[in-house]
């Protein structure tokens, strides 16, 4: 089955890298994958999107993602700015970085999971240029929410991307988010 994922973030929050790592993690499990950014200029702070596809078969489709199965929101402040549920399949899921519980989010009709990725990043002092790193903990949350990929694959993909201490810290963040995910 082809699964399509859309990631919402702000320029600089690592949404594109999240899509890339997601694909790499799934690839480790023998899946066929694809990851790509929103096609256009990306600017620090501006709302951006990135996409990923995971499938058991080779992926031929090269169009934009119109009806995702999963939506990942790296920054809850985007909820009032962009329609994160646009085109989301009726049985789709939204994973949000927030301190709130799923039921406190004003989105009905969809399965919602939440995790305080910002809190995890701050707790682990996982910062880049003073900003908390959100994409790696959110990948842990994705693994737990969707069960499309295993946490271990995420951890491996992260460690490959950043060998050494940085990778360890990011992997820990993913694992913490995996543990702390809140379901409705």
């Amino acid at each position: 089955m082809l699964k399509e994922i859309r990631i919402h973030g702000r320029g600089g929050q690592g949404g594109v890298t999240a899509a890339e790592l997601l694909a790499k993690a799934a690839f480790k499990e023998g899946k066929w994958v694809q990851a790509f950014p929103f096609f256009g200029a990306e600017r620090r702070g501006a709302p951006v999107k990135a996409f990923a596809r995971i499938s058991d078969e080779p992926i031929l489709v090269r169009t934009q993602v119109y009806n995702p199965d999963y939506v990942m929101v790296l920054d809850a402040s985007l909820l009032g700015v962009v329609d994160v549920s646009e085109g989301l399949k009726s049985d789709g899921t939204i994973i949000i970085n927030t301190r709130k519980k799923p039921e406190e989010i004003g989105i009905k009709n969809y399965r919602i999971t939440t995790v305080d990725a910002t809190g995890i990043a701050l707790e682990l002092q996982l910062l880049v240029a003073g900003m908390p790193v959100l994409n790696t903990p959110m990948l842990g949350a994705f693994a737990k929410t969707t069960e499309e990929i295993k946490l271990n694959s995420v951890v491996e993909a992260i460690k490959e991307a950043w060998p050494g201490a940085a990778g360890e810290k990011n992997a820990k963040a993913a694992a913490l988010a995996y543990e702390r995910l809140i379901e409705r």
């Binding site: 690839f27 950014p37 200029a41 031929l60």
Partner: protein, 402 residues
């Protein structure tokens, strides 16, 4: 055997270049080509790639430096996109005229105005008469493989022509997917070191690219045409050898037929569209609709014989292209019509211009093309809602409205 990595089209291009061991790389950054030159800079600065990397001040100088280096007898690589390619335009003709087999990756992007960084083929299309070999790619894997094959074809003594490897901006350049990156040894076995006969060598001084008048120039031009003709055979041969060595092939190297058996209508297209069209054909075939697909891989030399052969099978042939020749439909369309002209069972031809400025060419877009072709096959007439201009019929398919 190589190893599969999840990389973008641009990174695949950088790996393709690296594996071919160019002695000189000269490039200037432009969106969306940048990650190619950044990756090569990483390779060079990390000692993974042993080459002179000239970080020039413009695309014009990028290709000029390649010109100088190749004339001095070493293998070169560059990459660009859109405005950058337009700035190189002048030098393109120098490279092909002087018969220097320079290798270039092009990330096809819209030319301004309006300023737009997304996919369109109108940057490479004006260079179809520049005397470069032009190969279009459908996937990151094909980008990597094509760069390697391009060197082999272009450096063939019967060819000696520079080569483009084209990929759609973002749709390929920035899309991560599994790509088999061959081992260095495998590529070394496939691609021998460059040996050019006529180079700048103080021990054997010659004059390259002098002023020529009409007494000699037509013969040199004929030499270019002949080299292009020879390239057809070389592409077929190199494609076969590549398949034997690496287990991957792209049609016969010039063109690929997809589900053309029993097809009533066929769509001709290039680049990333081909993948989406494959899905549409699969789905329509499941519904017992007799549609086929033709992928043009080599735009120059143009697969004339192959297209004539395959066009015989259908009553309507459509061309879907991400570019326009204003006042004449699209360049691929006009080339196709020329190629199939005079066939005894000549199909009706329809040109579809779509995806301009990077607008998504999705399954609906492709399906719409097939619907129009099937309708035309039934009625024998091109539908009246098409823009009509003498014998030419074409239409902009707007994905957003579907």
């Amino acid at each position: 055997m190589g190893e599969k990595h999840v990389v973008s089209g641009n990174i695949a291009a950088a790996y393709g270049a690296k594996l071919c061991r160019p002695s000189v790389v000269s490039a200037y950054p432009i969106t969306p080509q940048t990650t190619i030159v950044e990756k090569i800079a990483d390779f060079v600065n990390n000692g993974e790639m042993d080459c002179e990397y000239i970080r020039v001040e413009s695309e014009h100088s990028a290709l000029s430096a390649c010109f100088g280096a190749e004339a001095a007898g070493v293998r070169t690589f560059t990459a660009t996109s859109s405005q950058g390619l337009a700035l190189m335009h002048e030098i393109l003709y120098g490279c092909s005229g002087a018969r220097l087999p320079i290798n270039m990756a092009i990330v096809n992007r819209t030319l301004a105005a309006p300023i737009n960084i997304m996919a369109e083929w109108n940057d490479a299309m004006p260079e179809r008469d520049s005397g470069w070999l032009i190969q279009w790619c459908e996937s990151g894997q094909e980008v990597l493989d094509t760069i390697i094959m391009n060197y082999r074809v272009g450096e063939d003594k019967q060819v000696l022509l520079p080569q483009f490897c084209c990929m759609d901006a973002f749709i390929l350049s920035h899309t991560y997917e599994p790509v088999d990156i061959p081992l260095q040894k495998e590529v070394d076995d496939f691609l021998p070191p460059l040996e050019l006969e006529y180079i700048l060598d103080v021990n054997k001084p010659i004059c390259i690219h002098p002023l020529c008048d009409d007494r000699y120039t037509p013969e040199f031009r004929w030499g270019q045409e002949k080299a292009m003709q020879n390239a057809r055979q070389t592409i077929l041969k190199v494609g076969e050898e590549f398949y034997e060595k690496f287990g991957r092939r792209y049609g016969n190297g010039l063109l690929e037929e997809y589900k053309m058996d029993g097809a009533e209508v066929a769509l001709v297209t290039m680049g990333a569209n081909v993948s989406t069209a494959r899905i549409v054909v699969d789905e329509m075939r499941k519904r017992k609709i007799a549609v086929g697909l033709i992928k043009v891989k080599s735009f120059r030399p143009f697969p004339i014989a192959e297209l004539r052969e395959t066009a015989k099978k259908v009553s309507v042939i459509g061309v879907l292209e991400r570019c326009a020749s204003f006042g004449m439909g699209g360049p691929l369309y006009t080339d196709l019509r020329s190629a199939i002209y005079g066939l005894k069972s000549q199909p009706l031809a329809i040109g579809f211009v779509a995806g301009l400025g990077g607008r998504d060419i999705n399954k609906n877009t492709v399906e719409r093309c097939y619907e129009v072709m099937l309708e035309t096959a039934k009625t024998g007439k091109v539908p009246s809602n098409f823009v009509q201009n003498g014998e030419l019929y074409y239409n902009h398919i707007d994905a957003r409205k579907e």
